[in-house]
């Protein structure tokens, strides 16, 4: 029996039981759509996160106080948190040749009051170059200037979310707000950064000098000179590693850490973060893909079930075909073709459905302010359709063998 005859015969059988074939396909269809949309959505999120990393710059290094909990990971920090000082940042800027820019940051939980609103929010103290190191854009007004910094002026730039919480739709620029009881004038509002690196979205940003003079002082556990982080930009992507080593050496020396002791600070490069994130997403893909794969398996069981019913219903037909000269192999191939065709068709429609789901998710997320560009990686499609056909063939094998083994005489006289 030629391939073309097999395909035509299978198509004929499936189309003569349209409802049943459609319902059987549904299992595989949903499985494939689930695999495709789950894995693709994870990939889309990953792509977006990577883009955020890119927008921050691959040449960034972050220093935070306290030792890393886990070797080489992003784990939180432990130990005394007042180990970094403004002088550390100045020393790095002065002594590390591979470093291009250094931006120290203080962070304090503060009470912010504007008009009738009273919110608890983080106030960050930064230097003017923070804007360039972290690639921040102002939506209204301006960022903190060198004059503001040197003059310890009481000016504040609001994160987008905080501005909306305090002022609603009104323009905050030129308005006064109170931070821990001290009056500040709003000089700018930042563009929203989105979910992943949007720490600034909810923060009030003031000159570091002002923060150390009137906000941080007196807060328990910090000295007037302690800072909560240093963002460092290397001269280029290529020297990030040497910049990291230089920073480490400078800080160890300044902190008088003995060679056998651990660092009392943590250095993380953008590279570390993005490779850890990649790992996370790879695991996410496998987990989601695996869960979706189970539904594909269930779809396969559905096919096997229907194929067994189909074999039982068509025992006489099988007997007739054998009487007319069909060999075991012919019957085997006939039933395998039917089950593979059902799952292939289900798989192809599942890819289309998955693509529609991805499109919808992308549109919904975009309307919520998370621009996920829809994508459908070709390798995922190939794997999903391949799995569907494999499931179809695997679940067709047992019914097909049963059909092929039927005795022609018994089959012909089956009632």
């Amino acid at each position: 029996m030629k391939l073309r005859d097999c395909l035509l015969a299978a198509l004929g059988t499936l189309s003569s039981h349209k409802m049943r074939s459609a319902l059987t396909m549904l299992g595989v269809l949903i499985g494939v759509a689930a695999v495709i949309s789950m894995v693709s959505l994870t990939k889309m999120e990953q792509a977006m996160v990577e883009e955020s990393f890119q927008s921050l710059g691959a040449d960034l290094i972050f220093v935070t106080p306290g030792a890393a909990k886990y070797e080489g990971g992003i784990g939180g920090t432990i130990g005394p948190l007042a180990t970094l000082t403004l002088e550390d940042a100045e020393a790095i800027a002065r002594d590390a040749p591979s470093v291009f820019a250094v931006s120290p940051v203080t962070e304090t939980m503060t009470q912010i009051v504007a008009g009738g609103e009273n919110l608890a929010s983080t106030t960050m103290g930064v230097t003017p170059n923070y804007q360039y190191v972290r690639n921040l854009q102002t939506e209204q007004g301006e960022f903190i200037t060198t004059q503001d910094y040197q003059g310890k002026k009481r000016v504040v730039v609001l994160g987008k979310q905080l501005a909306e919480d305090l002022f609603g739709q009104l323009s905050p620029v030129g308005q006064n707000i109170r931070i821990n009881g001290r009056q500040f004038m709003v000089i700018g509002v930042l563009e929203p950064k989105g979910s992943i690196f949007g720490g600034e979205d909810q923060a009030a940003i003031v000159p570091l000098s002002t923060a150390q003079a009137i906000i941080s002082s007196g807060v328990t556990g910090t000295s007037a000179h302690s800072i909560q982080g240093i963002s460092i930009q290397a001269q280029s992507k290529e020297v990030v590693d040497s910049a990291q080593w230089e920073v480490k050496a400078i800080l160890r020396q300044r902190h008088h850490i003995k060679s056998e002791d651990d660092d009392d600070f943590t250095i993380i490069s953008m590279d570390d973060i993005s490779s850890t994130a990649d790992q996370m997403y790879a695991i996410g893909s496998i987990v989601w893909g695996g869960i979706a794969g189970i539904s594909l398996l269930v779809g396969g069981i559905g096919i096997m079930n229907i194929m067994l019913v189909s074999v039982t219903e068509r025992i006489r037909e099988i007997g007739l075909r054998k009487a007319l000269g069909a060999k075991r192999r012919d019957i085997l191939i006939q039933f395998l073709t039917e089950s593979a065709m059902m799952s292939l068709l289900g798989g192809v429609i599942g890819v289309l459905l998955g693509w529609i789901l991805i499109k919808i998710a992308s549109i919904v997320l975009a309307s919520m302010g998370y621009p996920f560009p829809a994508m459908l990686p070709a390798d995922i499609v190939a794997i999903a359709v391949g799995m569907a056909v494999f499931v179809g063939l695997a679940s067709g094998v047992y019914p097909a063998i049963r059909a092929a083994r039927l005795d022609p005489i018994d089959a012909l006289h089956h009632e």
Binding site: M1, K2, D5, A9, G12, S16, R316, E317, L320, R321, K322, A323, L324, G325, A326, K327, R328, R329, D330, P408, I409, L412
Partner: protein, 218 residues
């Protein structure tokens, strides 16, 4: 030409053995039209299964067209059935929801023959049904369905046509038409073996083989 020599068929049902055929020997010459009769349980079905290469004898030998087929494998028997034997059944056994033409083509599909459509149309024409080629089985009357089945039996140019109670589901008028068709095909040189228990059908054949209790009644 069909030649059976001391063919015995024994079925095993649990612990008991049932002898369905007991040392049966006969032959049917090429071009003969023979009827096989006998009450149910006489062994005539078993004999027809062996003659039709659907089953093998337990002992004894069977030659079809000079080829001994008693010990062939399942696949070899399938090839013999496909090439040398045309089956006609009591209940027609056409594929449902399938056109007459496609039903007639079916043996050619398994035989790997070319020019299938043309040959199937010729076979339908020889049973007078070429005008119904595009109709599905369920759209055809009983007599028409059996004629499609006969066309299907003819399409591979078989050595013999084996008809098992071909008129069992037909009324008297269509039974007569079907038997006259068999006679016409026989005149063209095709060997025809008809299994029946109806005396009205036997009269259309040249010779009768009677079977009783697994043996040929002399």
């Amino acid at each position: 030409m069909i030649k059976l020599d001391n063919v015995t068929k024994v079925y095993r049902m649990g612990l008991t053995e049932i002898v369905a055929l007991r040392e049966v020997s006969f032959h049917i010459e090429t071009g003969e039209m023979v009827s096989v009769t006998g009450p149910s349980g006489s062994g005539k079905s078993t004999m027809m299964n062996i003659v039709g290469c659907l089953d093998r004898p337990s002992s004894g030998r069977y030659w079809l067209d000079g080829v001994e087929v008693s010990n062939l494998s399942d696949d070899q028997l399938a090839e013999i059935r496909n090439g040398k034997i045309g089956f006609v059944f009591q209940s027609f056994n056409l594929l449902p929801r399938t056109t007459a033409l496609a039903n007639v083509e079916l043996p050619l599909v398994y035989g790997g023959a070319g020019n299938r459509r043309q040959r199937a149309l010729e076979a339908l024409d020889s049973v007078g049904l070429s005008h119904r080629a595009g109709h599905t089985s369920s759209e055809l009357a009983g007599g028409e369905q059996q004629r499609v089945a006969i066309a299907r039996a003819l399409v591979n140019n078989p050595s013999i046509i084996l008809a098992d109670e071909p008129t069992g589901n037909l009324d008297t008028k269509t039974s007569r038409e079907v038997m006259l068709l068999f006679q016409e095909l026989n005149k063209r040189g095709i060997t025809i073996v008809v299994v029946t228990h109806e005396p009205d059908i036997v009269i259309y054949t040249q010779r009768t083989i009677k079977i009783l209790d697994g043996q040929i009644e002399k």
